[in-house]
C-alpha cells in the first residue's frame, strides 16, 4: 500500500511543477545558436553575389547525394569587381533527402554554405514533395534579406581538415590572429569571459571579407 501512496504522492507533487508545454505555434522556443536546420547559402553583401563558386565539393561529400551544383564564369570577375573566377550557376538541394549531417558545411572551402539556425530552417511542411527541392534563389533568400545574421560557423582550420584555401600573406596572418583569439564555437548569446571578443562570428566575417575585398 505504501508504494501506491508514494506513487500518488509523486503524481500530486508533479502537479505543482510548472508545465513544460510550449504552445507552438503561438510560442516558439528560442533556438540555440548552433541549431542545425537545413543548409542554405550565404550572400556576400560587399560584392552582391553568393559566396558559393560552384566547386561541387559539398555535393561530392554529401552522403545521400542531395545536391546538384553547376558553375559558370563569373561576370563580376571579368568586370574586375570580384576575386571569384567562377560563380555558382545552379544549385539544387533536395531537402527531403538531406540528413542534416553538416558535412557540406565542414568541407566547403569558401564558407559559402551554412546550416540554417532559424525556425525557417526546420519548418518545412509542404503539400507536395517536389516543393522541397530548393533552387538557388530559395537557398539565398534568407541570407539576402538579412534574416540569417548569425549562422554558426565552426572553425575550418588546418588541424581540422588538413587543408586550407590559398591565401596571400596578409590574409594568412589575419586568419592566424583570428583563430588565436577566437574561442571556437562560441555562441554570441553565451556569457562572455573578459579576454574574448564579444561577437566572434561577426569579427570573423569581417576579417574574411576584409581579406577578400
Amino acid at each position: 500500500m505504501l508504494g501506491i501512496l508514494k506513487a500518488l504522492q509523486t503524481t500530486l507533487k508533479a502537479a505543482l511543477r510548472r508545465p513544460v508545454t510550449v504552445q507552438y505555434p503561438t510560442e516558439k522556443k528560442v533556438l540555440p545558436h548552433r541549431s542545425r536546420g537545413l543548409p542554405v547559402l550565404l550572400w556576400d553583401f560587399d560584392i552582391n553575389e553568393p559566396f558559393c563558386t560552384g566547386c561541387q565539393v559539398c555535393a561530392r561529400y554529401c552522403p545521400v547525394d542531395c545536391m546538384t551544383v553547376t558553375m559558370k564564369d563569373n561576370p563580376n570577375y571579368a568586370a574586375g569587381k570580384s576575386k571569384r573566377k567562377k560563380i555558382v550557376d545552379r544549385f539544387y538541394i533536395d531537402y527531403a533527402r538531406c540528413m542534416r549531417c553538416d558535412i557540406c558545411v565542414e568541407v566547403c572551402n569558401f564558407d559559402a554554405i551554412v546550416m540554417n539556425n532559424t525556425w525557417e530552417g526546420v519548418e518545412l511542411s509542404r503539400y507536395d514533395r517536389q516543393e522541397l527541392v530548393m533552387d538557388l534563389p530559395a537557398l539565398l533568400r534568407q541570407s539576402k534579406s538579412g534574416e540569417l545574421e548569425t549562422p554558426f560557423r565552426e572553425p575550418m582550420g588546418v588541424a581540422h581538415s588538413g587543408w586550407a584555401p590559398k591565401m596571400d600573406e596578409e590574409e594568412a596572418a589575419a586568419a592566424e590572429a583570428a583563430s588565436a583569439t577566437r574561442h571556437h564555437g562560441t555562441s554570441p548569446d553565451a556569457p562572455t569571459s573578459p579576454e574574448q571578443p564579444t561577437d566572434p562570428t561577426a569579427e570573423g566575417e569581417a576579417e574574411k571579407e576584409g581579406g577578400e575585398g
Binding site: I4, T10, P19, T21
Partner: protein
C-alpha cells in the same frame, strides 16, 4: 421550491425535474471530459486542451459534434438488434439511477424509501449491455472482452453492495436523505473506514477505470466490447461511463462524507440551497479527483490478479464490516467503538494488500532466491 408553479400536478412536476436532469447531464458530462483532460494534464506536468475555446473549454463540445456527425457503422454479420440496442441498455439504467439520487435536500426527482436499494439494483443492469455489445459485434475478441467485462462487473458488484449495505445498517434506513441526516455530527467515513475503502476500490472497478480497466483497455491490445462501435453509439458508452462516475461520486459523498449538511450541521446551521449545492459539488469533486488521480498513477492489473483481489480480499473484508456493524447494533455499543474496530479492520485489509502485492507474481522455481530489496 423553485418548481412551485408546477407543483400541483405531480406528473408535470416530475417532467420538469426530469427535464432539468436531461439538460444538465449531457452538458455536465461534456464539461467533465474537459475537467478530466485538464486535471490529468496537470498531474502529468503539461497543459491540457488549450486551443478550442479559451483554455480549451469548448473541447468537449467539439468532440461531441465530431462524434455525432460520424457514420454509424454496423458490421454486416452483426446481430442487428443486439448490436444497436446495446448502448441504450448501458446508458438507460445509469440515467435511471439518477432519478433516486438527492443532490440536495430538495433537488431530487423522487426520494424513494428504498433509494439505495434501487440505485444498486438499477446499476447492475449495465452488465447486460456490455455482453450485448460484445456478442452483437460478431467479433471473437469483442466477445472475449465482453465476457471479461461482465465477470469484472459482477465480481466487484458484491463488495460494493456489501459496503453500501453496511453503511445503511447504522441509520437503519435505505432512504438516502435519512442516511444524510443521520450524519449530523460526524460523517460516516469516521465510523466505517473499511466500508469506505471497499466502496472506493469497488467503485473504481465498476467504472472500468485504471487500475481495473483491462476489459476496456483491451481495445489497445486485442478488442474490447466496444470495438465495433463508432460515432454516436460510442459516445453513448462514454456518456454511460461518465454518468456512472458522477453517480458513484455523489453516492459516496452522500453516504460517507456527510452529504449537503456536514460540517454545517455541526454548528446547527441551516444552509440555503446554494450552499448545499456548493457543498455537494465540493465533495463530489473530491471523489472525481480521486478517480482521476488514481488513473494517472497506477498501471493496470491483470485480469486474474483483479479477480483474486476481489474474491480473496475485498469480499471477506466486506463481510467483516457487516459483522462488525451487526455486533455494534446488537450489543448496543457506542458508535465510537466502530471507529476502532473498523479502523483496525481497514488497517488489516491494507496490510494484506501490501503483502499480496509484494509477494505476488513470484512463481516458485527451483533455485529461486528470496525476493527482497534488489540492490
Amino acid at each position: 421550491m423553485f418548481l412551485a408553479f408546477v407543483s400541483d400536478n405531480p406528473w408535470l412536476e416530475a417532467m420538469a425535474r426530469l427535464g432539468i436532469i436531461a439538460l444538465l447531464v449531457p452538458v455536465g458530462v461534456i464539461m467533465l471530459t474537459w475537467v478530466e483532460r485538464k486535471v490529468i494534464g496537470r498531474l502529468q506536468m503539461r497543459l491540457g486542451p488549450m486551443r478550442v475555446g479559451p483554455y480549451g473549454l469548448l473541447q468537449g463540445f467539439a468532440d461531441t459534434i465530431k462524434l455525432l456527425t460520424k457514420e454509424d457503422v454496423r458490421p454486416d454479420t452483426a446481430d442487428r438488434w443486439t448490436f444497436e440496442l446495446a448502448p441504450f441498455v448501458i446508458v438507460v439504467p445509469v440515467i435511471m439511477a439518477l432519478v433516486a439520487l438527492p443532490f440536495t435536500a430538495d433537488l431530487f426527482v423522487s426520494n424513494l424509501t428504498l433509494g439505495l436499494f434501487y440505485i444498486v439494483a438499477v446499476s447492475g443492469l449495465s452488465i447486460v449491455g456490455f455482453v450485448m455489445a460484445g456478442w452483437g459485434s460478431d467479433n471473437k475478441y469483442a466477445l472475449l472482452g465482453a465476457v471479461r467485462a461482465a465477470a469484472q462487473l459482477i465480481s466487484y458488484e458484491i463488495p460494493l453492495v456489501m459496503a453500501v449495505l453496511a453503511v445503511a445498517m447504522l441509520p437503519q434506513s435505505l432512504n438516502l436523505a435519512e442516511i444524510v441526516t443521520g450524519q449530523e455530527d460526524t460523517p460516516n467515513i469516521a465510523y466505517q473506514s473499511l466500508a469506505f475503502l471497499i466502496f472506493a476500490i469497488s467503485g473504481t472497478a465498476e467504472l472500468y477505470r485504471p487500475p481495473f480497466d483491462i476489459p476496456v483497455a483491451e481495445s489497445e491490445v486485442v478488442g474490447g466490447p466496444t470495438v465495433e462501435y463508432s460515432g454516436i453509439r460510442w459516445s453513448m458508452f462514454q456518456l454511460g461511463e461518465f454518468v456512472s462516475m458522477v453517480i458513484i461520486s455523489i453516492l459516496g459523498s452522500l453516504i460517507f462524507l456527510g452529504g449537503w449538511q456536514w460540517p454545517w450541521s455541526m454548528f446547527d446551521q441551516s444552509v440555503p440551497v446554494a450552499g448545499q449545492v456548493v457543498t455537494m459539488l465540493a465533495k463530489t469533486s473530491l471523489f472525481i479527483f480521486f478517480f482521476m488521480w488514481v488513473r494517472v498513477s497506477l498501471p493496470r492489473l491483470r485480469i486474474d490478479q483483479m479477480m483474486s483481489f476481489c474474491w480473496q480480499l475485498l469480499l471477506p473484508f466486506a463481510f467483516l464490516q457487516i459483522i462488525i456493524n451487526g455486533l455494534v447494533l446488537v450489543y448496543d455499543w457506542p458508535n465510537e467503538t466502530l471507529v476502532l474496530l473498523s479502523g483496525a479492520a481497514a488497517a488489516g485489509a491494507l496490510y494484506l494488500t501490501y503483502r499480496a502485492a509484494r509477494m505476488s507474481g513470484v512463481r516458485y522455481q527451483p533455485g529461486y532466491q528470496q525476493v527482497g530489496s534488489v540492490l
